[in-house]
Amino acid sequence: MDSISKSDELINVNKELAFQKEEKKQRAAELAIANKELLFQNAEKEKRAEELAIANKELIFQNEEKEKRAEELVIANKELIFQNEEKEKRAAELIIANKELVFQNAEREKRDAELVIANKELVFQNQEKEKRAAELIIANEELLFQNEQKEKMTTDLIQRNKDLEQFTYIISHNLRAPVANIIGLSYRLQQTGLPEDLRNQVGAGLSTSVTKLDEVIRDLNDILKIRQKVDESKQLINFTKFASDIQLSIEKMIVNENAVILWNFTEAEEIVTIKSYLHSIFFNLISNSLKYRQPNVPPIIKITSRKIDCKIVLLFEDNGIGIDLSTAGEHVFGLYKRFHPDMAEGKGMGLYMVKTQVESMGGKISISSEVNAGTQFRIEFNS
């Protein structure tokens, strides 16, 4: 063994060596290829390096551009910040302005509300003024009414004053006159040695004066009674019947004077008045007409009623001697006034009483006359 094994070994080793040689040849070929590859790769890498260099330059450039741009952006940014700040300021201002507007608006609304209130107030005041005006109109009417009342009262007071003046006059003159006579006469009566005839005259004078004094007192009483008697109740009187009754009561007087009394009461047939006054008025006016008749002319007395403005008017006309009113004037109705003292008895009471009675009933009396032709009395009643 060992010798055979050593040759086999050697053949094996030779064979191994021959394989290894082949391996090495293959290896070398592979290396060559790898080398060529590396050379190629190197060349590629150089190319790439060049390209990178170019790219690098480009990047540098781009970087520079970017830096420029950044600087520009910084500036722009600053500008924007500034603008922003301005805008913020402006916004703040607008907020303030807005607030101001809101405030003003609120003020206006307040003011509007106030105006509405003021307007309501004015409307109310206007209404109040209208009310007040209406009240004033009423007050005015009231004043006018009161004024009328006062005028009536004044007229009444003037009348009363006249009455009082007349009363004073009567006291001073008509009442005092017989008293003065009595004083004078009684002084004479006390004288001793007065002649008989004179004593008789003084006695007669005393009697006349005392009678006169009594008469005046009675007249005064009658006059004052008229003033008091106004509340005597009024009654409906038929003129025709009334006149007939009076004619009958003074028939003798009428026959004696050969007089005619005519009447016409068709326009107003009746009156509501105080009967005793109406009687006195008819009686006094008729008897006056008979007293102051024309001597040779039969007396004709006409009595007529009229209705004028809803008021009853009585007219008494005669054909008597008349009266000169230019001298007699307002004295015609005066107390104790006489204008034909020689013609007939009388004391100047009749017309005064008639006037007093007419006026106490609220009426009016007037006279018109023509000497030697006749007289007309017009009585206007107050209803």
Binding site: I171, H173, R176, A180, G205
Partner: protein, 127 residues
């Protein structure tokens, strides 16, 4: 010497009697003329034509039926001064009303006011 002349104008005969007596007591030889109608008295004095310059005392009543004393004085005022100067008018009235006295005193044609009844003393006061 011509006696004093008194003219009484009053419608009351009793007063005229008393006046006559009072005047006679004061002036025994007085010439007295009485009118009960003032119109007649006025007619008398307006036709007055006396050669002498005698002054007449006129006693005039106020309250008379047709003409009052005041009416008389108003008419008297219109007379000629020559006539007027011969009459001294005194209002002789029963009135005790001061207004009548006042009115008499204020009237230029009236000398004074005398209250009735006329007495001897009152007549003396006129002289």
């Amino acid at each position: 010497m011509t006696p004093l002349r008194f003219i009484i104008v009053d419608n009351d005969p009793v007063n005229n009697l008393l006046c006559r007596l009072a005047i006679k007591d004061a002036v025994a030889d007085a010439d007295i003329l009485a009118f009960s109608d003032p119109l007649k008295a006025f007619q008398y004095i307006s036709e007055h034509d006396e050669s002498n310059n005698r002054v007449n005392i006129l006693l005039l009543d106020i309250n008379m039926p047709v003409w009052s004393g005041w009416d008389f004085v108003d008419h008297f005022d219109k007379l000629d001064n020559k006539i007027k100067s011969r009459f001294k008018i005194y209002m002789l009235s029963s009135s005790i009303d001061n207004n009548d006295k006042q009115r008499a005193v204020e009237n230029k044609n009236v000398v004074d006011y005398i209250e009735k009844p006329l007495t001897e003393e009152k007549v003396f006061s006129l002289l």
